[in-house]
């Protein structure tokens, strides 16, 4: 039998190269970004960074755009979980039954996931354009002009619209994960439930969901990490402005602007550090406390 004790050198030998790249290309830059958040640096290596204490953080906390971006992120997180998860679960549950043409549905629902975020964003941008977009022109054609809106520039609407498009793109991914989770439930259990006369509510809420609780937990964490990294879809849909006037700004977008547009790498790193703390904290609470099954179960 292949055990760790007997093959210690071989196993460690195979793990070390991967560990080296992980440390060099992931952990070290991440740590370096935290260090950089306490410095003032414009990106010119030879100019060097000047120690700036906690000023980058103070400037960040004074900036209303940062708080707006946090509010947007919170909205994105909540709405993404509340839309992506139930829709993905519902579709997964329906597709797990023996319905005809299930593969066609699976492929259709998964299609947006394999499209690049840029392509998806451009498509929706064209659909939702205020003057020349498909949606407003359709509404006009069917006599519902009163319902037409500047979907991507109305400050009260644009971020909600982008959030829903983001959900639309990712729902297929979680559908596949949940489908795999449901597939692990033995068929006999469903048959037994049927014989016992259990209704759909009991089957779903008392049996299916508790049995795939960990899978749902993974989905929640993945949705959250996706949300925290959301950048491209907003960047493309707002033509790189995150506006008008920053209404669609998210922390990663602000980090990009501070670092790569304004050459203020200290503040960019401070934002990245805040995103890291926020992400680790929320994901830990949600995953460890909320969804992990008890060890004695």
């Amino acid at each position: 039998m292949f055990t760790f004790k007997k093959n210690k050198v071989l196993i460690i030998g195979f793990l070390i190269p991967a560990l080296f790249f992980y440390i060099a290309l992931m952990l070290y830059p991440a740590f370096y970004a935290i260090v950089l958040s306490f410095f003032k640096w414009n990106g010119v290596a030879s100019l060097g960074a000047q120690f700036n204490g906690i000023n980058n953080y103070l400037i960040l906390f004074r900036n209303p755009v940062f708080w707006l971006s946090i509010r947007n992120l919170a909205f994105l997180l909540v709405v993404s979980i509340l839309t992506q998860l139930p829709v993905a679960f519902l579709l997964a549950y329906l597709l797990s039954g023996n319905i005809r043409g299930a593969s066609v549905f699976k492929v259709s629902f998964f299609m947006p996931v394999i499209l690049s975020a840029t392509a998806v964003s451009m498509m929706w941008k064209l659909i939702l354009d205020d003057k020349y977009g498909l949606l407003n022109n359709f509404l006009k054609a069917v006599g519902l002009e009163a319902m037409s809106r500047p979907w991507l520039t109305d400050p009260h609407l644009s971020f909600q619209v982008i959030t829903l498009i983001n959900s639309w793109q990712h729902v297929g991914y979680f559908l596949i994960i949940l489908l795999a989770g449901i597939a692990t439930i033995p068929e006999e259990l469903f048959e037994a439930l049927k014989i016992d006369g259990a209704g759909i509510f009991t089957t779903v809420f008392k049996v299916v969901i508790p049995l795939i609780k960990e899978v749902i937990g993974v989905c929640v964490v993945l949705i959250m990490t996706n949300c925290m990294k959301t950048f491209d879809i907003i960047y493309v849909m707002t033509s790189g402005t995150f506006g008008p006037n920053n209404v669609n700004q998210v922390p990663v977008g602000l980090m990009y602007y501070r670092s790569f547009v304004e050459d203020n790498f200290g503040q960019g790193s401070a934002i990245a550090t805040m995103v890291l703390l926020f992400g680790v904290l929320i994901s830990s609470i949600v995953y460890i406390k909320g969804f992990q099954q008890k060890s004695d179960v």
Partner: protein, 452 residues
């Protein structure tokens, strides 16, 4: 079991977190290296030298064939000088510039747009101060259009020196559709009173008076900057940059108030903040809009063979305010592209680079760009009149010749790099009715205060 799961979860979270952080730090830790091509010592006219020439003129751009031809001629006269071209399309070129400044590996001759993008290279003395080179050659110096060598793109208020030689002028003004004007019985406006009258009459005909893609912040900001110059003159931008004056003042708010007035009048159609720059040009080129405040660079596009308005296009200067006639000749214009030299150049290499720089930027060099309508020269050349685009650009140039003061984006002299982005954000915010003029001005002051 629980411990192992917790460990796995933590590792997963650490991976997630590091993915976010890596995005920020990835481009930062570049080592400071010395450009190996910059260390030539002895100055000898026949010494073989290789110059790295960096530019963004790629296939399809009108500048490239002119540049190639010039290089061939230069090489014939200077067989000892080899020019190693490094070109990249615009977006990649900006990135290349940034990376090379960061790693101190800039080429020997570098095309750039000045301003905050290369300020760190100037501060760090990566660019050569060309003051001596220019002042020691009076005929070369005098060949430039007055004021262009003092422009915000090649000089900085806080770092004395001349950091590049401009080879293109940014010119702005109004394009208008002559046919629409004729049908409405209108003449190109000279003052803002005339302009308001024109806007009202065009609106009555169902035409969008003025195509403006305020969704792209720079479009709304260009309008703010130009209104600022016509209302306040160019000089107060230096007071704003030195913090002598606040944006939340008559100076800073007045242009915003005028933008608000135009917006509410319907000058730009129903919702300019939903219009992108691309759509702005389509609206104008399709005849849906009658006027377009834009750059002279687009004359070629508007007069191209496939342009629906190629026979109807005209030009007029940005109107002035009758009660502010002292600022009539203050305008949005200035150097828009410059050639800079690497400060590490010495000896024969430096001589060769200076020779090449002068060759391109001299009257005979820039004349070749003029003839191909590839650039708007910064020296007095014989103007090209062979194409409709060239004729149109000459009209822009005629206005520029009357300029008393001029500047590009009004935040150019500002030491805070985020001010241009902020001004663009709030200008779009105002056009989108998110901000009042007072709030827009206050947001600019807050940006200064928060980063002070």
């Amino acid at each position: 079991m629980l411990k192992r799961k917790a460990l796995t979860s933590l590792l997963a979270l650490a991976l997630t977190g590091s993915l976010v952080l890596t995005a920020c730090s990835g481009a930062t830790n570049t080592a400071s290296t010395v450009n190996s091509s910059g260390g030539s010592a002895a100055s000898n006219a026949d010494e073989k030298v290789t110059l790295r020439f960096e530019h963004d003129w790629t296939e399809g751009m009108p500048q490239l064939p002119v540049f190639k031809k010039m290089m061939e001629e230069f090489k014939k006269d200077n067989p000892n000088i080899t020019i190693q071209e490094e070109s990249a399309p615009d977006t990649q070129y900006h990135q290349k510039l940034k990376t090379e400044i960061s790693s101190d590996t800039l080429g020997d001759i570098v095309i750039n747009w000045g301003g905050s993008e290369v300020k760190s290279a100037v501060k760090n003395k990566q660019f050569m101060d060309l003051t001596e080179m220019v002042s020691s050659d009076s005929s070369y110096k005098d060949s430039f259009i007055p004021g262009i060598l003092e422009g915000n793109d090649v000089t900085y208020q806080d770092v004395k020196g001349l950091w590049g030689i401009p080879i293109n002028i940014t010119l702005t003004g109004f394009y208008y559709n002559k046919k629409i004007f004729q049908n409405a019985g209108l003449e190109p406006p000279k003052t803002w009173d005339d302009m308001l009258n024109v806007i009202n009459k065009l609106k009555a005909t169902g035409t969008i008076p003025w195509a403006l893609g305020a969704q792209d912040g720079w479009r709304a900001e260009h309008l703010y900057s130009q209104l600022f110059y016509k209302i306040n003159g160019v000089e107060p931008i230096y007071d704003l940059a030195s913090r002598k004056v606040k944006y939340a003042s008559d100076i800073g708010e007045a242009p915003f108030k005028y933008m608000e007035k135009l917006r509410d009048l319907g000058a730009f159609g129903s919702n300019p903040a939903a219009v992108s720059f691309q759509m702005e040009q389509s609206e104008f080129m399709s005849g849906k809009a009658a006027m377009n405040f834009s750059l002279a660079t687009y004359a070629k596009k508007f007069t191209a063979d496939d342009s629906p308005i190629k026979d109807d296009i005209g030009y007029f200067a940005f109107p002035y305010f009758s009660d502010k006639s002292q600022n009539k000749d203050d305008m949005f214009a200035g150097g828009g592209l410059a050639l800079s030299l690497n400060s590490k150049l010495t000896g024969a290499k430096k001589d060769a680079a200076v020779k090449l720089l002068k060759y391109i930027t001299s009257i005979s060099g820039q004349q070749q760009f003029e003839e191909a309508s590839a650039l708007i020269p910064t020296v007095n050349v014989q103007q090209n009149t062979s194409t409709p685009a060239a004729k149109l650009v000459n009209e822009f140039r005629a206005t520029f010749k009357t300029a008393k003061h001029y500047s590009n984006d009004m935040t150019d002299p500002d030491g805070l790099s985020s001010m241009l982005t902020k001004l663009r954000d709030v200008s779009t915010g105002l056009m989108n009715k998110q901000l009042t003029p007072e709030q827009a001005a206050q947001e600019l002051d807050s940006e200064i205060q928060n980063n002070g």
